[in-house]
């Protein structure tokens, strides 16, 4: 009964979304009554989608094995939290979550957005209806999460143990929120294209959505990277895996987009470009979904590999993006010219930001799609760090330089000399670090440059706060400072890890020890251990310095029985200046056991930096929300006064 209720709600929501589109079109032609109906319909649709999703979660919580999806992905003996997260740790459920968030965002737009003209708002909600309708069709036609089994299963298949992890319960939804936020930005762009009203109000309305999407994407990518780092046991934190790239590309586009919306909102420039970027950003989210879901590329993440679904997403992508681009081609010429600016201005630096980010996006996109391209010509290749790292750095490093300078420039026009003077401490820091890097000699070209730039950016990013009382500075300025500083922290962590990493691969008999970065690591032995749905061999590694035990590391090789699979559980020991990373290997000859150890200097800075970046986004967002609230209160008072008068 629960499954049927969910399915019914889903069909109703899809129907309402069709009606929403229909009403938006007819209202545009003068049917005012239908125009009035659009907002309530959008809200109702959001509620129904949320209800459908709640039903699915309920089915998973009860482990209702008569539902195909539950039987395939859950198990009665699974920890309860992972039963719940199992609802979206599979293709159908995650698409339902996606649609739910999308419909819910549409409801929020309908409820709270008051800045845009009625016509633009109608067109926006119409565009949002087209996008959600596509996803409803996808769910109902090819990925019905509520399908029943003819005969209920006796026991479920269980959830892939790699996914039974707190990070993974949290990582996919975060990414979907980000993708969906970009779909809202896309709808705003389409709406603005239809009416030609691309200006400050459009930018201000869209900005909060893009910023929110960007915060979610940042958190999602950071969580995914952290998960890959400790769960896969490979010791790396970014593999340029197609699925990682699929989340990075929308992030790059969203970063470019909210920087350009800030130009549009403050200075009414870059109109056409901003609209174009909004289309590109959502395209990247769709391309990402396609890459992950279709399984066209080799990836450790390739779950639910199904060519039919891939085709469906490709068709949706073609309709959305093709339609938007056609509209763009028709209407872009009608958008009036924006304001002018000098080439030494904040605007110009943001143009540099946008161009470099777009170039980076192009490089990641080409590298990700290249294997598909060559495969269609009969050659199989894979593209990895040897391509992405150096080629990406050629555009990323100048971007960091632009980040140092840009925030110090004024809108419209700036004099160079004071800016250069203000940057002097940053340049000094860079020179100092460069000297250290050269003397030390361990860092390569990329990691060395990374360290130097990280030092420069860390200092330069704080400069906008230097000449004012920090507590008086607006939250949006704080947001920028924190986010830019966070990027410097991440860059420092990544560069330090790659420059100064130490590794040991040894075969140890129990009692034997090895030395890494001043720590003596002794293998005391291996013991069998058991968890709720797994058994494991656990290594006991004593870490000591000068004979004094500092900690015990317990890496495991786990065997899950449902589904049958083994995983490597790395053991981590975090110090202020780095992490000791231990992996238990297979038995070696004559009673020895293989152990792999890494000392990773400052590796945690990578994720702390990412958190700061996200925090910066949140600060900016709350700053915007506060000023929007003040404005609406002011408008309310003005209206009251008018009524009284």
């Amino acid at each position: 009964m629960i499954a049927e209720l969910g399915l019914l709600a889903l069909w109703l929501a899809a129907g309402l979304s069709g009606f929403q589109l229909f009403a938006a079109i007819l209202a545009g032609r003068g049917a005012a009554v239908l125009g009035e109906a659009i907002r309530p319909v959008a809200v109702m649709q959001g509620l129904l989608a949320a209800f459908a999703f709640a039903m699915l979660v309920w089915l998973f919580a009860r482990t209702d094995l008569s539902v195909a999806l539950v039987a395939q992905h859950s198990h009665s003996a699974k920890p309860f939290v992972y039963k719940l997260s199992g609802a979206w740790a599979n293709h159908e459920g995650s698409m339902l979550l996606w649609v739910m968030v999308m419909a819910f965002s549409g409801a929020l737009v309908a409820l709270f957005e008051r800045r845009l003209s009625a016509a633009t708002m109608r067109a926006t909600l119409g565009a949002q209806a087209i996008v959600t309708l596509g996803f409803y069709a996808f769910l109902l036609i090819s990925s019905n999460p509520f399908e029943r089994l003819a005969t209920p299963a006796v026991e479920g298949n269980g959830l892939n143990p790699l996914l039974q992890d707190p990070g993974l319960a949290f990582h996919p939804p975060t990414l979907y929120f980000g993708y969906v936020g970009l779909s809202v930005a896309f709808s705003f762009a389409v709406g603005a294209l239809v009416t030609g009203e691309v200006g400050r109000d459009f930018a201000r309305t869209m900005r909060s959505w893009v910023l929110a999407a960007w915060v979610f994407l940042t958190l999602g990518i950071a969580a995914g990277s952290w998960w890959a780092y400790y769960e896969l046991g490979w010791g790396g934190w970014w593999f340029w895996d197609p699925v990682e790239n699929a989340s990075l590309m929308p992030w790059l586009a969203a970063t470019a987009l909210f920087h350009s919306t800030s130009v549009l909102a403050s200075r009414d420039a870059l109109r056409v470009w901003t609209v174009m970027l909004a289309v590109v950003a959502f395209s990247m989210a769709m391309v990402g979904t396609f890459l992950v879901r279709s399984g066209v590329l080799t990836s450790v993440h390739a779950f639910a590999v199904d060519p039919e679904r891939g085709t469906f997403i490709l068709v949706l992508l073609g309709i959305f993006i093709g339609g938007a681009l056609a509209l763009f081609a028709l209407r872009a010429g009608k958008i009036a010219e924006g304001s002018r600016f000098s080439w030494k201005s904040r605007e110009a630096s943001l143009v540099v930001n946008n161009v470099l980010l777009t170039a980076l996006l192009g490089i990641v996109l080409l590298g990700t799609l290249y294997p598909l391209l060559t495969e269609s010509m009969g050659t199989r290749v894979s593209v990895g760090p040897p391509y992405f790292n150096p080629v990406g750095a050629i555009f990323f490093f100048p971007l960091v330089l632009a980040m140092m300078v840009g925030p110090l420039l004024r809108w419209r026009d700036t004099k160079w000399t004071p800016v250069v003077q203000r940057l002097a401490p940053a340049f000094a820091a860079m020179a100092f670090v460069a000297l250290l890097v050269v003397i030390d000699g361990r860092a390569g070209l990329l990691s060395g440059t990374g360290l130097v730039l990280a030092a420069g950016l860390a200092l330069a990013s704080l400069l906008p706060l230097a000449r004012r009382k920090p507590w008086r500075a607006p939250l949006t300025l704080w947001g920028m400072v924190v986010a830019h500083f966070g990027l410097a922290v991440t860059l420092a962590g990544a560069s330090a890890e790659s420059a100064f990493i130490e590794e040991r691969l040894v075969s140890l008999t129990p009692g034997e020890s090895t030395r890494i970065s001043g720590w003596d690591v002794t293998l005391r032995g291996t013991i069998p251990v058991a968890g709720p749905n797994w058994t494991a061999i656990e290594g006991e590694l004593a870490v000591s310095r000068d004979g004094a035990i500092a900690t015990i590391l317990s890496p495991q090789r786990r065997s899950f029985w449902s589904p049958p699979q083994t995983t490597t559980e790395a053991a981590l020991w975090t110090r202020w200046n780095g992490q000791l990373y231990a992996v238990l290997g297979e038995p070696a000859e004559s009673g020895k056991r293989k152990v792999r150890l890494w000392w990773k200097p400052f590796v945690t800075l990578i994720w702390y930096g990412a958190l700061l970046v996200a925090l910066g986004g949140l600060l900016a967002l709350s700053g915007r929300a506060r000023s929007a609230l003040r404005r609406s209160i002011a408008v309310g008072r003005a209206n009251q006064r008018r009524e009284v008068a």
Partner: protein
């Protein structure tokens, strides 16, 4: 410097185009030189890749070929596709599901003595994840490989 709006739009467009074309050219150059090609042992025999060039080698792990190198930590084994064999040396922890007779994709390069030195091994991860190169292998070539090993 002051711009007429139209000129500014053209100039911005020009800058963006130049940067994008530059990025694409750079990407194509990078891809041509840095992408690693996929080989099966038969291809290695007929058209050997240059020594030191990054490639991916795919095939089945020959039964009874798994052994330990003198350094006590490196693994030696042979990858074959029913037609040819390639000796592989891998320094690292074996993937959880790495067993003789199953498929593997090794990332690495050839040394002058004809041994393939692997940095990474991708084995079958679980029933849902098979390296894509191996999907077709198991269909087309695995039969031959199995016939070979059970002879």
């Amino acid at each position: 410097m002051s711009w007429k709006p139209k000129h500014q739009r053209m100039a911005l467009l020009g800058v963006a185009l130049v940067a994008l074309v530059g990025a694409v050219l750079l990407a194509m150059w990078g891809l041509r030189s840095q992408a690693s090609y996929f080989y099966v042992p038969a291809q290695v025999e007929s058209d050997p890749p240059a020594v030191g060039q990054n490639i991916r080698l795919g095939g089945m792990v020959l039964e009874g070929s798994l052994g330990q190198a003198d350094d006590g930590v490196s693994i030696l084994f042979t990858v074959h596709d029913g037609e040819a064999q390639v000796p592989v040396r891998y320094r690292g922890i074996l993937p959880d599901l790495f067993v003789e007779g199953s498929g593997v994709v090794a990332e690495g390069r050839f040394t002058p003595d004809g041994t393939f030195v692997a940095d990474t091994l991708l084995a079958k991860h679980d029933e849902n994840y098979v390296p894509r190169e191996l999907e077709e292998m198991t269909a087309a070539q695995a039969k031959a490989a199995v016939a070979e090993t059970t002879k």
